[in-house]
């Protein structure tokens, strides 16, 4: 007794049961798995279930599908076994099988209704009876079948046996089995047989025009289509293409099926040597026949010129390989990966993913209009396109260059200006130190001995003064400010004292607004300190301020009586008895310029050149003006008789004249102040230099620490 074992609990059940009586598990599948080895049934199922035709898929008529379905019905054990095996499969495969079962089911697919009428007409199907069985149609209509597919007639068993033997004998074709077949002639022979068969079956329903229901613009092609092979012819040809390449396992390499022997072109294939392929007629004689050799490429002897080229390239290739750096090798590897990517992309889009058109005239066609993702899909760009093949040195230089460019664009912060702190205390200490030194020097005088060495300037000045006649007119040009009055008084005191002793008459003039008053005060102070009784108008005449700068000096030296005709009090200057003989500068016995301004000293010296004898020109200036006048004094010939500079020359003059004057009174105070100044500058500079060094070291330490 046959039993069927439950795949779930493993207990035996009667064969007629569909559900296990113990565990209620289904014993028989809901659908019958077609034979996996039956490629005909699979193709039939595909052709039925698929809503439309694919360009690559064969066009199978319904009657062929029905006949194959009938064939598959004759093999129920296979289906049952497959169904039983399906229960042993994992759930995923079961689902796949269920899905495929839908495809292979013989039930009329609902998707068939989606096929447009014009496409059905093209297929040769009946539009009015879409659900009729193709098998019955083929049987009723008696549609002629090819001789090798007479499965729907009474020759089923014989054909099946032949097909079984063919499956065993027909080898898998590496080349098209219909190569060399003249389809035109064969189809013409079939066309001649067709009227006879049609005449023998008058009850056959006339087939509808294949272009019925087609859009008008497509009907315009009817003439062309009528000239093309009929659907029956196409079906016949397609059937031949479909059935012929079905492979079957067996010793097919040694045997050739009889139908294949009858095919034209086989003689050509057998007669022609396998490895030699003749070129077309128009290329014969020009191109040698192609010889397919089984030799390895390395075993082939190349021409000598090609070997030379290879040998010349080899060192360069080796050099290039040596220069490749690890990054470059990595980049090349990435480039190879980039080339592989398209293959992966292609594999990621199998045939099932290609969409099928569901509307419009292309309804049911697969992959006619590529979907947008497929179109927009781009090849992954290779890294070699985005990255240059550079060495490490070039890369470092490029990075340095980029860094320089980036830093160039960055605005540099403007350092805040350091504002010096007002060291008021330090300034006050300096002032107090100077005041204390001056006070001590003035009170302790005479503390130090005056300078004994006679300078050249003092000697020349004393010589010029000593040569003055009594009651001689002397021009005193006094350009002084109050700030330098003490110094200039000390410098010129002894000299003026000597002149007063000789009874000189002074004419005072000043190119400075304040000079007239300073000149008057100078003579008063010298007279007072040295015990003279010099009075204005008796001892001197003050002409006042000479405006115009250098132009006024030039005018004054040209005609002093016209430029300065009156005194500062408004009296006639040149009408007195002491000055009535004075018309030019050369009429004065001595001209003394007393100034602390180097510019005015230079201007006076330059403007008086040629108008005053050099032997009568003396400059008594501040110590700061001496370097300016020294070139004029040391010139050859000299342009000035003498230059008295500073308190030192005044003190020397007093020492040489043996008269203690204002210079000697200030000398000790001056010495103490200068020495105090030297000490303050030295100590202050030392302290601040230490501060600066410490700050610099601190800043350097901060930079290094950072």
């Amino acid at each position: 007794m046959e039993t069927q074992r439950c795949p779930m609990c493993g207990r035996p059940n009667p064969p007629e049961l569909e559900v296990c009586q113990y565990c209620q598990a289904r014993l028989k599948p809901l659908w019958a798995e077609p034979s996996t080895g039956s490629s005909e049934a699979r193709e039939a199922g595909i052709s039925k279930s698929k809503p439309g035709l694919e360009p690559e898929e064969p066009l199978l008529p319904d009657w062929l599908i029905a006949s194959r379905g009938q064939m598959s019905d004759e093999e129920p054990p296979q289906s049952e076994e497959r169904g039983e095996d399906a229960f042993l499969l994992p759930p995923e495969e079961v689902e796949i099988d269920n899905f495929l079962g839908d495809l292979f089911s013989d039930e009329p697919a609902e998707e068939k209704e989606d096929v447009p009428e014009w496409l059905q007409a093209l297929r040769g199907e009946k539009i009015s009876e879409p659900q009729s069985s193709p098998l019955s149609e083929s049987g009723e209509q008696g549609e002629p079948l090819p001789f090798w597919l007479g499965l729907g007639t009474g020759e089923t068993e014989q054909a099946h046996a032949e097909s079984a033997s063919a499956e065993e004998k027909v080898p898998p074709f590496t080349e098209s089995p219909f190569e060399g077949i003249d389809f035109d002639s064969d189809l013409l022979s079939l066309e001649e047989e067709k009227p006879a068969e049609i005449g023998a079956q008058p009850d056959i329903q006339p087939s509808l025009s294949p272009f019925e229901g087609i859009e008008p613009f497509l009907l315009e092609e009817e003439k062309l289509l009528s000239e093309s092979p009929s659907p029956v012819e196409e079906k016949t040809a397609l059937r031949a293409e479909e059935t012929a390449p079905l492979p079957a396992e067996g010793d097919w390499t040694s045997e050739t099926p009889p139908w294949l022997e009858a095919l034209p072109g086989l003689e050509w294939e057998q007669g022609e040597p396998r490895g030699e392929e003749m070129p077309p007629e128009f290329l014969q004689g020009v191109v040698p026949p192609f010889v397919e050799a089984d030799e390895e490429l390395s075993e082939i002897e190349f021409p000598e010129w090609l070997n030379q080229v290879e040998r010349s390239i080899e060192p360069e290739l080796e050099a290039v390989m040596d220069t490749l750096t690890p990054p470059a090798i990595e980049m090349l590897a990435d480039q190879e990966e980039g080339e592989i990517v398209p293959k992966e992309v292609e594999e990621s889009h199998p045939q099932e993913d290609i969409p099928i058109e569901v509307v419009g005239p292309l309804h049911g066609l697969r992959g006619v209009l590529p979907a947008e993702p497929l179109v927009a899909e781009q090849k992954k760009p290779s890294k070699a396109l985005s990255e240059l093949l550079v060495t490490d040195k070039q890369r470092a230089q490029a990075e340095l260059f980029l860094r320089l460019i980036e830093e160039e664009g960055k605005p540099k912060p403007i350092p805040a200006a350091k504002r010096a702190k007002p060291h008021t205390l330090w300034r006050a200490l300096i002032f107090l130190a100077l005041v204390v030194a001056a006070t001590i020097g003035y009170l302790l005088a005479p503390f130090s001995t005056p300078p004994q060495e006679l300078s050249v300037g003092v000697f020349d000045a004393m010589q010029a003064v000593n040569q003055l006649p009594a009651q001689a007119p002397v021009l005193l040009i006094v350009d002084l400010e109050g700030s330098d009055f003490a110094e200039m008084q000390a410098t010129t005191g002894a000299m003026l004292d000597q002149m007063m002793i000789k009874g000189a008459f002074f004419v005072l003039v000043s190119a400075n607004q304040n000079g007239a008053l300073q000149a008057d005060r100078l003579l008063r102070e010298v007279s007072r300190l040295n015990g003279h009784h010099y009075q204005p108008s008796v001892g001197w005449v003050n002409l006042g301020y000479l405006p115009g700068g250098a132009a006024g000096m030039q005018a004054f030296v040209q005609s002093l009586t016209e430029v300065m005709p009156t005194t500062i009090d408004g009296d006639a200057a040149w009408q007195s008895d002491r000055l009535k003989n004075i018309r030019t500068l050369s009429d004065f016995n001595l001209v003394v310029v007393i100034t602390e301004d180097s510019t005015r000293a230079r201007q006076w010296l330059e403007q008086m050149k040629g108008h005053v004898p050099v032997s009568r020109l003396i400059f008594a200036v501040s110590a700061q003006v001496e370097p300016i006048l020294r070139p004029y004094y040391e010139a050859n010939p000299r342009q000035v008789q003498s230059v008295l500079a500073g308190i030192r020359d005044g003190a020397i003059y007093e020492t040489q004249a043996a008269r203690r004057g204002w210079a000697m009174q200030l000398w000790d105070a001056y010495t103490f102040v200068v020495m105090m100044g030297i000490a303050l500058i030295f100590l202050g500079s030392l302290v601040y230099a230490l501060f600066a060094l410490l700050a610099r070291r601190k800043g350097r330490a901060e930079r290094e620490g950072r």
Binding site: H423, W426, I430, V456, A516, G548, G552, A555, V563, Y688
Partner: protein
């Protein structure tokens, strides 16, 4: 007025007067000498007038500050008071009056001397901090030069150092050689600049009178 001064007429006057004065330096011709002297006299008068204009402008500025009662009005009031006092004393009493002498002896000279001392203190202070602000070789050279100059100018408590003090000392020789050389260079530069400026004014390239 400004456009008039910028006109070719003013340029022509400047050119003619300048040429006359310049030729008067080289040509000893009586008419030329006389004409040159007149031009110089006019220049002296114009300078005096410009001085007076400057004084009036100074008075106007301080008077306006006093009327606006700004924070500096007190300084302006002091200036105006001192100006009026000085003009009255010097104009009415004369410079030989004892009040005028007192103003000079006890006001002008002490104030200017005090300002000079402030400059002295500031210079010493700046010298001491020169190395802190810029510690460089040039700062050191400048500082040492100042110190040696001061040391050579006076004897150290009455003691003269042979190589430092005196007319034949190292410092004196260096002052005569280096100092005179430097000053000669300065004087040559001043002379060349004066000549170039005069030529530019004579040819009308510079018009300081129009600005």
């Amino acid at each position: 007025m400004r456009s008039f001064l910028r006109s070719p007429f003013s340029t022509l006057i400047t050119l003619l007067t300048g040429l006359v004065v310049l030729l008067g330096y080289f040509l000893d011709i009586e008419p030329l000498r006389e004409l040159r002297f007149r031009f110089l006299q006019w220049a002296v008068l114009l300078a005096a007038v410009s001085l007076m204009l400057g004084v009036f402008n100074l008075l106007r500025v301080h008077w306006s500050r006093l009327r606006e009662s700004t924070s500096k009005a007190l300084y302006s009031l002091t200036f105006l008071g001192g100006f009026v006092l000085a003009v009255l004393m010097a104009g009415l009493l004369g410079i030989q009056h004892f009040l005028t002498h007192a103003v000079v002896d006890y006001v002008i000279v002490p104030i200017e001397a005090s300002l000079f001392v402030v400059i002295l203190v500031t210079l010493i202070y700046a010298l001491t901090r020169s190395l802190q602000n810029r510690f460089s070789v040039f700062s050191l050279v400048f500082l040492l030069t100042v110190l040696f100059s001061l040391l050579a100018s006076v004897p150290l408590l009455g003691v003269e150092i042979p190589f430092l003090h005196g007319g034949e000392s190292i410092f004196a020789i260096g002052q005569r050689v280096l100092g005179a050389a430097g000053v000669r260079g300065l004087l040559i530069g001043v002379a060349l600049g004066s000549v170039i400026t005069g030529i530019r004014v004579l040819f009308g390239l510079d018009r300081p009178y129009g600005e």
